[in-house]
Amino acid sequence: MSEPLLSVEDLHVRFNTEGGVVHAVDGVSFDLARGEILAVVGESGCGKSVTAQTIMGLTRTTNAEHEGSVRFRDRELLTAPNSELRKVRGAEIAMIFQDPMTSLNPVHRIGDQIVEQILAHEELPEPEARKRAVELLDRVGIPQARERMRSYPHEFSGGMRQRVMIAMALSCGPEVLIADEPTTALDVTIQAQILERIRELRETEDAGVILVTHDLGVVADIADRILVMYAGRIVEQGTLDEIFYDPQHPYTWGLLGSITRIDRERPERLPAIAGLPPSLADRPEGCHFRPRCPHEFDKCPEKPPLEPRGGAAGHCDRCWLSPEEKRAKRMVQGQIGLGSKGAVA
């Protein structure tokens, strides 16, 4: 692999709260290459959004502590002053948020918001910036872009607003796009359109994309590589095919097992992962997934390192079970699944 575009190393994010120290991100490391779509997957509260936001410097609150490093090309972002970060944000690294309803300013026209973003980063005469904004809206599939520049956000549907967000994110030709649950609030037909745009961006701009999502269907559709996060840590990472066809961590089995598939016979009961993720202020010792894992054994109270355990070098996981045991245990009724505690269902 060539020089990574973005490199996160041993990132820790802690928030001091009344309920104790919330260790939201606990030693996360990964690289993002040009033209790569990296999916970060996990349940709510696993630290995936905080990781994404920290790259952009959006978690710099008074109660937050950061440790580690976020390098973008040759610059360190984690400790960069806000003034410098402001130049990177939006121009070189852009972000799309989950909720297109609240991430646009309701009292400004769509066009003005895009133009403002362009002018904040580039010295252009305003008519030039307007022209570019129209082109961008056109490119993301907003019909009658020139007229629509004068619309307000409330006149747009959810899918159109998300497309405006993408247009804004593209406005300065970013090298990294961070998309935090970009399609969660949208209908499936619109989701397919938005994913198509993200794929296009990777192809035309050769940008690296970090896609944060909890939907493994979306991941299977678009990602090259996957990080699976649980309770602040990466528990497994690998290529799309490695994660889907040779998953190593029981949590990944559970995630894969609990998705509904419309192309298969319907099962009597949906396999679920019993229990809840731990509170990030009070996580169990050792493997964090231990209390929910039916395959727990006496080694689990010790923290498992993230390392390759057989197979390709890039395919790492945090589980003490041997690869042979994993292969045997992950098959539940002929499919990958977590199984249940006690009796085999």
Binding site: D187, V188, T189, I190, F244, T260, D263, I273
Partner: protein, 356 residues
């Protein structure tokens, strides 16, 4: 998940319309336009079955649910509950009926009062119907039944995760032992692994208490696991209705086929090989619905007749209803044997699909 055929339907909705007026004017509001939220819908809900109701946002599915609950009064058409016409029943008449129909809402964060304890929330339907005395033991029983413990009764909603909150919502819906529960996107806001827990719970409760469900969802992946039959809505109308399994292998209306195709399959290899229909555009404005078939501006199979004549709901084999001039997945024989269903909108034409 069993449906009992032959008995009287629990709910019967006939040619139901609900239009929201759009008002404008300086001194006197006058109605300048109408949003056709529910536009001539006919279906029935049999006792003990689960009917899935699917459609994109803005297709009118929530308005339909609200009309059945009589939270809004329908503009036209009738709603019968257990044979009794409740379309224009007064609040006083509705009160005893309301205990037989309960609702679970989409957003587990907004649908529980943050200032009330869990026991107060779950007991409130009982209190409202004047049986608050022995509520405490009943609350414990209900919490236990939905997978929470008695010690949770004294806590506040913010102490719970989304999935647990939805369990509280389900316990509240069960409090009055209703016959019917209207579930408005009960799992859309939850994580995948938690969705499965809630769906399994709903399944168990249905079996135990013989409940009837109307399960609303915005995509077809989740409803499949709970539904006996599924209705697909588009722009205020039911465009397809079939037994759950049949709908997935044999969608007749191109819109249903597109909805199915849009769901990504969580299997990279199959996904790469699959042919995808990416539906262009968005649902049209319900203030000014297109003429003819509401789906024709986005439909890859649309022809001249689709722009002109609204297709009737056509009944194919197995009671499979679909409103389309150019049906998919049906043989010429099946088309020849098809007939116009009495559930068709009154404004639809008489032209049935023709064999090719």
């Amino acid at each position: 998940m069993s449906s009992r055929e032959g008995s009287d339907p629990l709910i019967r909705v006939e040619h139901l319309k609900h239009h929201f007026p759009i008002k404008s004017g300086l001194l006197f509001d006058r109605t300048v336009d109408r949003i056709h939220a529910v536009d001539d819908v006919t279906f029935e809900l049999r006792e003990g079955e689960t009917l899935g109701l699917v459609g994109e946002s803005g297709c009118g599915k929530t308005t339909l649910v609200r009309a059945i609950m009589r939270l809004v009064e329908p503009t036209e058409g009738t709603i019968r509950f257990g044979g009794r016409d409740i379309s224009h029943a007064s609040q006083r008449e509705l009160r005893p009926l309301r205990r037989q129909m309960q609702m679970v809402f989409q957003d587990p964060y907004a649908s529980l009062n943050p200032r009330k304890r869990v026991d107060q929330i779950v007991a409130s339907p009982m209190r409202l119907h004047g049986e608050g005395e022995d509520a405490a033991s009943r609350v414990r029983e209900l919490l236990d039944r939905v997978g929470l413990s008695a010690e949770h009764a004294n806590r506040y909603p913010h102490e719970f995760s989304g999935g647990q909150r939805q369990r509280i919502g389900v316990a509240r819906a069960l409090a009055l032992e209703p016959k019917l529960i209207l579930l408005d996107e009960p799992v859309s806001a939850l994580d995948v692994s938690v969705q499965a827990q809630i769906i399994n719970l709903l399944d168990d409760l249905q079996e135990e208490f013989g409940l009837t469900y109307l399960f609303v969802a915005h995509d077809l992946s989740v409803v499949r696991h709970v539904s006996d039959r599924i209705a697909v809505m588009y722009l205020g109308k039911i465009v397809e209705l079939a037994a759950a399994e049949e709908l997935y292998v044999k969608p007749i209306m191109p819109y249903t086929a597109a909805l199915l195709a849009a769901i990504p399959i969580p299997d990279p290899k199959e996904n790469r090989e699959r042919e995808r229909i990416v539906l262009e555009g968005e649902p049209p404005n319900p203030i000014d619905p297109p003429s003819g078939c509401p789906f024709h501006p986005r439909c890859p199979r649309a022809t001249e007749i689709c722009t002109r004549v609204e297709p009737p709901l056509t009944e194919y084999a197995n009671g499979h209803l679909a409103a389309c001039h150019h049906p998919l997945n049906v043989s010429d024989d099946e088309i020849a044997a098809a007939r116009k269903s009495p559930a068709s909108p009154l404004s639809s034409g008489d032209e049935l699909p023709q064999p090719a």
